[in-house]
């Protein structure tokens, strides 16, 4: 069918509801969660063998020879992206085993979660826009349902509706763009599009590229299209917030990078300045609005918008170093924001309140969680011993190598602004507790603590010893043959 990792993941996804319902009622959530964790681990093992294959033989093309098939192209970039999808997915699944209450609906939660991850794996594996769009919708539909999973809460339902309307309109816009590309080139594979458009500057190509950028930009929350993000990311269950912020928005960035550096190479020069301005707006709007928030998860959601701005900086630069920075930032952001949302979820789970002012002194009662939370927040600012520093440094370096130094200064200034709210969160949490409520709070349960600590260890590890990660990212970016200005 598709490649081995994706096959394993899809089969496990299809079997997971049966396992959940067959399990004894008392342990449904735990058993379905363990099953999903096994699914993700098995996919990881299959991915490793695929990695060895790709690193020796180069990109693998899969053209279907069975009833269910698609046109797939697996290169180093796909492997790089899938490794973090599976890593953060596994962390969120283990965390969910404690976090999601045991009920008749809990098996559906894991099925949707696996569906979302298989959709994303399919997106990064696909070799043409047809396959990509099918997996894109697979991912989108499951995220709409997951945001509304706690359906007894009005925030979740309302946020899901808003996300669904904007997301589905975005997908339809992308579909219109894809149809125009199909009309222009007669094919939808990335290689075919690149060959068809090598020298054309047909006005229809500009129109199609606008539709593609807007359509996929909705999911990536680029600034004029970001309005759904703070609602959806803050109202979803915390595990889903971690996955949405960590990897789903990055998938949008991936598709834009794939489209603009593999297919639209002839009109790239006109687009890069526009992307530079949008990335500037995105990071400043995200960070400045985050300063005004009082709700912890909303603050983190706005900070995700700012991080999307950082990732766009590398795309706007458009060199080898710039894109290495973008994908490093994507990888590191998944670890940092994943850890931050999971910690915030743990604090809200124990405390039952979401406002920052109710959390004064919670660090005295949940020391491990708050230490990990502080590590992830300091990494999000981009402070040296953590991994966020490495990727932001790469991005700033890449802007100075081209004539976009203003964007690099913007990134540094924006990080300084972001320190304003990240440090406020840390300060609030380590003060002496004032309310009775805090006194009763206990440390996070063990099953929720393990994935959080594991993510924090990775944040520190990749901060101190970034070489393997940076090499992996540089190798991944060679997937784009048309990059100018190699470092």
């Amino acid at each position: 069918m598709f490649t081995l990792p994706l096959d394993i993941l899809l089969i496990f996804t299809a079997v997971s509801p049966v396992v959940g319902w067959a399990a004894p009622k008392l342990y449904r959530s735990k058993i379905a969660g363990a099953f999903s964790a096994i699914a993700l681990s098995a996919t990881g093992i299959a991915l490793y063998s695929l990695y060895q294959d790709v690193s020796t033989n180069g990109a693998i093309y899969v053209t279907g020879n069975s009833l269910i098939a698609g046109y797939l192209k697996v290169d180093m970039l796909s492997i790089f992206m899938v490794s973090i999808f599976l890593g953060l997915g596994l962390a969120a699944t283990i965390y969910s085993m404690e976090y999601v209450e045991n009920s008749a609906r809990s098996p559906i939660y894991y099925t949707l979660l696996l569906t979302m991850i298989s959709g994303m794996v399919g997106i990064v594996f696909s070799g043409d826009l047809f396959t990509l769009f099918v997996f894109w919708e697979l991912m989108s539909v499951s995220t709409y349902a997951l945001v509304a999973f706690f359906r007894e809460k009005w925030e979740s339902v309302e946020a899901s509706l808003k996300y669904l309307i904007l997301g589905a309109a975005g997908s339809a816009t992308a579909l219109l763009g894809i149809s125009l590309l199909y009309g222009l080139a007669g094919t939808l594979s990335f290689e075919g599009l690149a060959t068809a458009f090598t020298a054309t500057t047909n006005p229809w190509l500009y129109i199609a590229s606008i539709f593609i950028f807007v359509g996929f930009g909705v999911k990536a929350a680029i600034v004029p299209l970001h309005t759904w993000l703070p609602d959806a990311h803050s109202s979803a269950p915390s595990t889903i917030s971690a996955l949405l912020s960590g990897i789903v928005i990055g998938t949008g960035i991936f598709v834009i990078a794939r489209a603009f550096f593999s297919a639209f190479t002839s009109i790239q020069q006109q687009w890069l300045p526009i992307i530079a301005v949008l990335s500037f707006l995105t990071m400043f709007l995200g960070n400045i609005t985050a300063l005004l928030q009082t709700d912890l998860k909303r603050m983190l959601a706005y900070s995700s918008i700012a991080q999307v701005g950082y990732m766009l900086v590398g795309i706007a630069v458009g060199t080898q170093t710039g894109l290495t920075g973008t994908f490093l930032q994507f990888f590191n952001h998944a670890l940092m924001k994943g850890a931050a949302f999971l910690c915030a979820g743990a604090i809200i789970y124990r405390l039952g309140a979401r406002e920052l002012k109710d959390m004064v002194g919670v660090g005295r009662k949940m020391p491990i969680t708050v230490v990990v939370f502080s590590i992830s927040l300091l990494a999000l600012i981009g402070l040296p011993p953590f991994n966020g520093f490495i990727s932001e440094l790469t991005l700033v370096t890449s802007t100075f190598q081209t004539n976009l130094a203003w964007l690099g200064f913007g990134l540094i200034l924006s990080s300084v602004i972001s320190a304003g709210y990240y440090l406020r969160i840390i300060l609030t949490m380590i003060q002496i507790p004032v309310s009775e409520k805090i006194e009763k709070v206990k440390e996070t349960p063990l099953l929720m603590l393990i994935p959080i600590v594991a993510l924090a260890v990775l944040i520190v590890f990749f901060g101190i010893y970034p070489d393997p990660l940076v090499k992996f990212a540089q190798h991944a970016v060679t997937a784009f043959p048309s990059l100018g200005g190699a470092s």
């Binding site: 919708e137 509304a148 939808l188």
Partner: protein
């Protein structure tokens, strides 16, 4: 026989009507219909471009894509209607302006 331009104008017109519907209507069900219009505009574009790809020949890729796209649109609509039902149970109305309780 209508030429390709006619179909393209029609599909862009349909797309604009869909966007207008999403921007101005307040009923949630009408918003779901607006999304359907957007997807169908894109589908018509595909069919028209597939038919005019080569004289006397219809490209199967475009038609295959449309078949799958209709299925995907049905899945999106199903989830959308599910969320609309949940929203109706919470608020007792289908008016979207009633549910702006979330901060902007």
């Amino acid at each position: 026989m209508i030429d390709l331009t006619g179909y393209l104008v029609f599909s862009f017109g349909l797309f604009s009507i869909g966007l207008y519907c999403l921007a101005t209507k307040r009923n949630m069900l009408r918003l779901v219909l607006g999304i359907e219009l957007l997807i169908n505009a894109a589908n018509i574009n595909f069919i028209a471009l597939a038919a005019f790809a080569m004289p006397g020949f219809v490209d199967p890729l475009g038609n295959a894509f449309v078949c799958i796209s209709i299925g995907l649109a049905a899945a999106v609509t199903a989830v959308a209607l599910g969320v609309v039902v949940l929203a109706y149970r919470h608020y007792g109305t289908l008016d979207v302006t009633e549910l702006r309780r979330l901060r902007g």
